[in-house]
Amino acid sequence: MEETITYTFSKEHTHCDEIFAKAENSVAKKQWTVADTEFNDFHTAMEKHFTAEEEILFSAFEERTGQTMGPTQMMRMEHQQMRQIFAQMQTSLAERDDEQYLGLSETLLMLMQQHNMKEEQMLYPMIDQVFGAEATSILERIRAI
C-alpha cells in the first residue's frame, strides 16, 4: 500500500491519545512517579509530532501552494494553545495537584481532538492531494529528524 501523509500522521495522533490516557489514569489514581514518566512520554511525542508538522509538513505545503495564512496557520496557532496547556499540566504535576491536572487534561483532550479532526479530515487529505506520490519523500525527511 502506498504510504500517505493522512495515514502516517493520523496513526501518530492515535499513539499520542494512548499515552495521554495512560498519564491521566495514573494521575487520577495519584500514582505520581508513573504519571511523571507517562506525561513526559506524552509531552515528548506531541512535541515531536508538532515539530515534524511545523518544520517539514506545513512548510512544504505552504511553499507549494503559497498559502501561508490558510489552514496551516490555524493549525500552528492551535499547537501554541496546546503548548500553553502542556506547561500548565507540567506545573500541576510537579505540585501533585490532581484536580488541576484533570481539569487541564479534560480541556486539552477537547482541544487536541477537534484539532486532530480538522487535520485528519481536511488538512492531511489536502496535503496528500497536493503532493501525491511525493508524500513518500516528505515522510522520509520527517523520519530523518
Binding site: 491521566e24 500548565q88 488541576q100 481539569g103 487541564l104 479534560e106 480541556t107
Partner: protein, 432 residues
Amino acid sequence: MNTANLALQQTPPLSVPIRFFITAPLFGILASLLLIYIGPDIFSSRWGLNILALTHLFTLGFVSMIMFGAILQLLPVVAGTIIPKPVLTSSIIHILLTVGSLSLTSGFIFGQDFLLRIAIVLLGLSFFSFVAIVGYCLIQVKGNIIIGMRLALLALLITAGLGIGLVVRFAYGITLPLAMILANIHLTWGLVGWVGLLIIAIAYQVVPMFQITPQYNTKLMRWLIPILFLVLLLWTLAYLWLENNKLVGWISILIGLGLAVFGAKTLHLQIKRLRKIPDVTLNFWRVGAVGLLLSIILWITGIIWTELANQPFYPLLLFILFVGGFVLMVIQGMLYKIVPFLVWLHLQNQQLNPLRTVNMIRIPHMKQIISPKSAQRQFWVYLIALFCSILTLQFPNLIYLTGIILLVAFILLEYNLLKALKLYRSVLISIQ
C-alpha cells in the same frame, strides 16, 4: 492579519450556539410544568392535544433547539466552513424556532387556530432556512459524518413538511386523507430520521474523541446511516400503500435492528475505552445507549405481539424510552463537554488577541467552568425523573412527582449552563 482574528473567524462567536443551548432547558421546564398541569388525565387519549403539546415541547423546544446550535458549532470542525453572517443568521433562526415552538404548543393547549397558523409560518421558515443554509455549507465536503448530516437534514425536511401538513388540518379544519398514518410517518421521520441519524453521525466523531475509544467500524460508518435512510423510505412507501399490513411491521423491525447495531456498538466501544476516569458524559451516553436498546426491544416486541402494542401505555413508554432514555440523555451528555469547552476556547482566543487583551490571567479550565459535581448531580436527578416517568405509567398519580423531579432536573441544567456563562462574562471583563 493577526492569528487571533483568524482563529476567531474559524469558530463562530460563542453567542451563536449558546443561545440555542440556554433556551432548550426552558422548554424542558415548560414541558415539566405542562406534565404537572395535565396530571393523570394524560392517559385518556393518545392523540390528545395536550400530549401533542408535551411531545413538541421536548422534540422542538429541547431536542431540535440543541441540535441546531450543535450543528452550527460543528460546521467549522467537520466541514471547515462557517455559516454566512453567523450572529444574524443564528439569531433569526433561533427566534423563529423559539416563537414557532411556543405558538405551536400553546396553540395545541389552548385550541387556538391562529396560534397554529403563526406556528406554521415561523417553524416553516426556521426549518427551511436552516436546512438551506447548512445544506449549502455541506455541499463542497465529503465524509461519513457529512453524509449523515445531509441525510438527517433531508429527514428534517420530510418531518417538517409532514408536520406542517398535519397542523394545516387543525388550523384550517381541512380533513387530510390518512391523517393517522401521516402522523406516524411524521413522528418516525422526526425521531429516527432527523434526531436518530444525526446522533449517529455525531457519535462517530465524539464517542472515540471523548473517551479515547477505538473508532467505529469503517463499514458501519459508511453504510449504517444510508441504509437506515433507505429502509425508512421503503417503510414509508409500504405504510402509505399497504397501511397496517404485516410487511410494514417487518420493515420497521429492520429500522429497529439498524439502530440496535449502533447502540450495541457504542456500548462495546465504551467498554474498550482507554480513558478510565469518571466522566459525567460517559454516564449520560451509557444510559442513553441502554435506553435506545430497551426502546427497540419494546418496539419489536410490540410488532410481533400486537396485543402489547394495543395497550394504552405502549406508545407512551416507547416515547419515554426513546426520547427520555436515549435522545435527551446523549444530548445532555454532549452539552457537558461542548459548553465548558466553548467557554474556555473563546476566553483563550480573547486572551490571544493582543488588540483587546489588557491583563493576562489564567483561564479557568473546563472542570472549573462546570464542576463535575454539579453535572453529576443533575445527571442523577434526571435519571430519577426518567424512572419515575416509567413508574407513572403504572401508577398515574405519580405524575405530579415525576413532573416536579423533571422540573428540578431542567432547572439544574439551566443553572449549570448559566453559571458557565456568568463565569465567561466575569473572566472576559478581567481580561479586557
